[in-house]
């Protein structure tokens, strides 16, 4: 007799598709981190003195911080001196047009299906493509410029819009925030900068694809999105990395600022290399993402679909500072083989009549460990704060785990906080029901998983939802028969 659960596990053995390596000469600094390396990075990027000082201050703070160990993840200590902190394609000089871009780079994007070039135009997506650490191209600049929207690489923003960067950088995630945020502040090489002027609805979805390519290169992007009063922007972030044996560190920082009545929607599909079936290799993804609902009636919405990385450590959060502001968090996190994810959100209610909504869907397969960690904090003057949290776990097989760590701190008696949680398992009964109707095993599993994730998928922009669904299908595809 076949044991059902092992069989189901077979079904979810994933195949990782974007596993190739582009051979381009890179300008890479020797491994190790010191003041000199930071000065080198800053100089390489022609940064003004205040930026260099900002980085150095972060480095000083970082040196005195202990490595955080509270997350429900296990990994060997990281040797920060063994990492190279700067890697730029040699031909990193600014391109005037796409024709000048190294064809190999474009080929890489082709393999990933990044909608650049005319495809981008057709799809209506502007892409600021980050290849390792340097931004190589931005589309739709003109159309965005007409709307007054600034969408460029962080490096460019530092030199061309220093007043905006200085006003907002580090105001949501300060250099001292946490170990990895401090590290990022010291060594970040690039990222995206978005500024939406007052009363403007960004005319298109903004999108950045990140890709880690160089061996042993940590990638530290820094993203800053500012929506001024009465503006709206939807930002998509998609990630994928080629297959490597070494563990690679990824410590990004994303800061969002929403002023009065502004809305920011931030969506992520993350498909980094998760390591092989035995837990070898894979990306360490230690990210600080935080949104500040600074203005009244502002709104920030995070949607994430996380299927990759060996270790994910990520809590996109909202600080609900403005009165009547609201925060949302929709998440699907899939772990299998030896992947570990400790993810969730923080909703900090500070203003009056603030509300937050959390929908978290965790899927564990193989020996995957999936933890939801969420904080709902209602501060003293946050009258009439409301929160609804729904936290569902789906287990596939017998050796995986789902863990929930909800923290609720209410310091105002008018708070309404609801928390619902469920754990279920894809059982032989479910599979057999589908099989008996003629639906094959792979289709059955992906159908059941898709149904489980529906509430989150519907929050994603259309094309992204299709991509996310496909990604889960690929993740669940495997050794049937």
């Amino acid at each position: 007799m076949s044991t059902g659960n092992e069989h189901i596990e077979e079904l979810v053995k994933r195949r990782y598709e974007p596993g190739f390596f582009t051979d381009i000469e890179s300008d890479t600094v020797a491994p190790g981190l010191s003041e000199d390396v930071i000065r080198f990075i800053s100089e390489k990027k022609n940064e003004p003195g205040w930026m260099t000082q900002w980085r150095l201050k972060a480095f000083e703070l970082w040196q005195n911080m202990p490595t955080p160990e509270w997350a429900h993840v296990h990994y060997p200590p990281i040797d920060f001196q063994a990492i190279s902190y700067y890697s730029a394609p040699k031909s990193a000089a600014k391109y005037k047009s796409w024709d000048e871009v190294d064809p190999k780079l474009i080929e890489t994007y082709d393999k990933l299906g990044v909608p650049l070039h005319e495809r981008a135009r057709l799809a209506g997506v502007a892409v600021d493509a980050v290849f390792d650490s340097v931004s190589v191209g931005t589309t739709f600049r003109k159309e965005l410029a007409e709307a007054g929207v600034i969408f460029c690489s962080m490096s460019e923003a530092i030199t061309e819009h220093p007043e905006l960067v200085r006003r907002y950088l580090g105001t949501v995630v300060p250099q001292s925030d946490n170990f990895y945020a401090a590290l990022n502040s010291a060594v970040f090489t690039d990222g995206s900068f978005v500024w939406i002027p007052q009363g403007t609805r960004c005319p298109m979805e903004l999108s950045t694809y990140f890709r880690i390519n160089e061996l042993n290169t940590g990638q530290f992007e820094r993203t800053l999105i500012v929506a001024e009063d009465d503006s709206y922007v939807s930002y998509l972030e998609g990630c994928t990395a080629p297959m490597r044996d070494e563990n690679q560190l990824h410590a990004a920082v994303v800061e969002l600022v929403a002023q009065d009545r502004a809305q920011i929607k931030y969506s992520t599909v993350q498909n980094w290399y998760p390591g092989d079936e035995n837990g070898k290799g894979g990306i360490y993804n230690f990210v600080t993402k935080r949104g500040d609902c600074r203005g009244e009636r502002s709104k920030i919405s995070w949607t994430q679909v996380e299927t990759g990385s060996a270790i994910t450590w990520k809590y996109p959060s909202c600080i609900l500072r403005g009165d009547h502001s609201s925060g949302e968090f929709y998440s699907v996190a899939l772990t299998h083989n030896h992947q570990q994810a400790d993810t969730g959100t923080k909703m900090i209610h500070i203003g009056r009549n603030t509300s937050s909504h959390i929908i978290s869907k965790g899927i564990s397969a193989g020996q995957g460990q999936n933890a939801y960690r969420g904080l709902v904090q209602v501060q003293k003057r946050a009258d009439n704060a409301r929160n609804y949290t729904q936290c569902d776990s789906l287990l596939i097989g017998k050796r995986c785990g789902a863990h929930t760590f909800p923290y609720i701190e209410a310091r105002n008696p008018t708070a309404h906080i609801e928390h619902e949680a469920s754990t279920s398992r894809i059982s032989e009964d479910h599979l057999f029901y589908c099989l008996q109707r003629g639906i094959g095993e792979e289709d059955a599993v992906s159908m059941i998983v898709d149904g489980f994730c529906k509430e989150v998928f519907k929050e994603l922009p259309m094309e992204f939802a299709v991509e996310a669904k496909k990604l889960l299908e690929v993740s669940l595809e495997g050794a049937v028969g």
Binding site: M1, H7, S427, E428, Q436, R437, M447, G451
Partner: protein, 252 residues
Amino acid sequence: MSVLKIDKLHASVEGKPILKGLSLEVKEGEVAAIMGPNGSGKSTLASVLAGRDGYDIDSGTITYFGQDLTELAAEERACAGVFLAFQYPVEIPGVNNVYFLRAALNAQRKARGEEELDSMAFLKLVRQRLKQLKITDDLLHRAVNEGFSGGEKKRNEIFQMAVLEPQLAILDETDSGLDIDALKIVSDGVNDLRDDKRAFVVVTHYQRLLEHIVPDSVHVLMDGRIVKSGERDLALKLEEDGYGWLEKELAA
């Protein structure tokens, strides 16, 4: 022509023998009722026929339209026209009922080398079947069986059967837990699908269902074997006298 022919079937679950030499033949257009006390092997028979994992065939044969049924995987049996109406249909949250049924029908059509139905053609078919079964469309837009009452679940099974149009339909205690109105809807649905081709195996504990679905043959399953076969009056006798007299007759 015989649709299903089971010959001296021995089957076990986790090493425990449940079916012990069961033989049964069901012909085209026939409705065969399988009755028997609890634990006699009725549900095991249904699971074995549908090809459920964990049910091991130790000896004997199952022939379906002359083909060895045991060689087919569960989904292949479904595509070949074997349908099981479940005693306890599972809930699949978030998966729309119509979407599920279309995926099922198209998987079956594809396996048979037929063209898949597009959504327009499929919806037309669905409406036709709803009308035919005189049931409302309130279940269509919900997730598969999610939050359905017992009656609604069974009604959904019959509706799926009507859309998938099997050659052999196995009803596993479809009457259990139904009130009289639900029972009527379900049996009307089955009667409506009866024709001179389609064969039914109706597994039930009570005679009650057979008042509504009048069987062509009645077979009594006890301790893993068919111990007596007859016509409808056999079911009535069992209802009146229970299974005790049969046990005595067998012991004699």
